[in-house]
């Protein structure tokens, strides 16, 4: 029984460590802060939750296990807020953003074109009725 518990802990903690390694590698690999945020979120979710669940399985008493799981719950609630604030900082302060964040600009242009086309079509319909 003790060994089963140990192997469960070892498997979960080592899996969490692998996710943390992937996250840090991604933070070095990507080039822009918004892309890096994507890699850093791996450690914020999978890494910390797998490690903490593994550690809670073989915690010394019930209350420490409960507190360790509480850390995971708190982290799941706080990490999206922190990422949101960080992304807002990046979006507001980066003046060369349009040079590499092209998806947003393309979508905006397409939406405007679609809206203009819809307006034209509506206008033609009205003229036809008149």
């Amino acid at each position: 029984m003790e060994w089963i518990r140990f192997f469960l802990t070892a498997a979960l903690v080592l899996a969490g460590l692998v996710f943390c390694c992937i996250s840090v590698y991604g933070v070095f690999r990507f080039e822009y802060a918004a892309n890096r945020m994507h890699a850093a979120a791996i450690a914020d979710t999978m890494g910390i939750s797998l490690c903490m669940i593994g550690l809670a399985i073989s915690a010394p008493d019930f209350f420490s296990a409960f507190k360790i799981l509480l850390v995971v719950v708190f982290w799941w609630l706080s990490a999206p807020v922190a990422s949101h604030m960080l992304c807002r900082l990046e979006i507001k302060t980066d003046e060369q953003r349009d040079e590499y964040m092209t998806v947003h600009m393309d979508t905006l242009r397409q939406e405007r074109e679609a809206a203009a086309a819809a307006q034209e079509a509506a206008g033609e319909e009205k003229e036809g009725q008149a």
Partner: protein, 112 residues
């Protein structure tokens, strides 16, 4: 091999790997070209430190270290929020000052 020894080896290896990852994050924090890269690296260091504190709960067998992990998580969250807010504010202040200066110059030129 006793189970205590196995636990100790596992937790020591985990702590070592997490320390190396945190050092790598520190390097990223120093290298990071923009301020958001640095804040991001600090956030990641906070995550790794919370895991490290939770590992020491098992390594030392002390329950109260779980409270420290919880408090560290809150402090790390607060630090990231505060740094983002402060740097956004500093940037907007600089921009406001620049626009004011540009407005003065424009006025002077118009007067002349």
């Amino acid at each position: 091999m006793s189970i205590d020894f196995a636990y100790r080896v596992l937790l020591a290896v985990t702590l070592g790997v997490l320390t190396l990852l945190a050092l790598a994050c520190l390097i990223r924090c120093i290298l990071g070209p923009r301020i958001s890269d640095r804040v991001l690296a600090i956030n990641l260091i906070g995550t790794l430190t919370v895991i490290m504190v939770a590992v020491t709960v098992l390594l030392l067998g002390e329950g109260y270290l779980a409270d420290i992990a919880l408090i560290y998580a809150m402090l790390s969250f607060l630090a990231v929020i505060l740094l983002s807010k402060v740097y956004t504010g500093i940037y907007e202040e600089h921009k406001h000052e620049e626009s004011l200066l540009a407005g003065q110059d424009g006025k002077k030129e118009a007067d002349v």
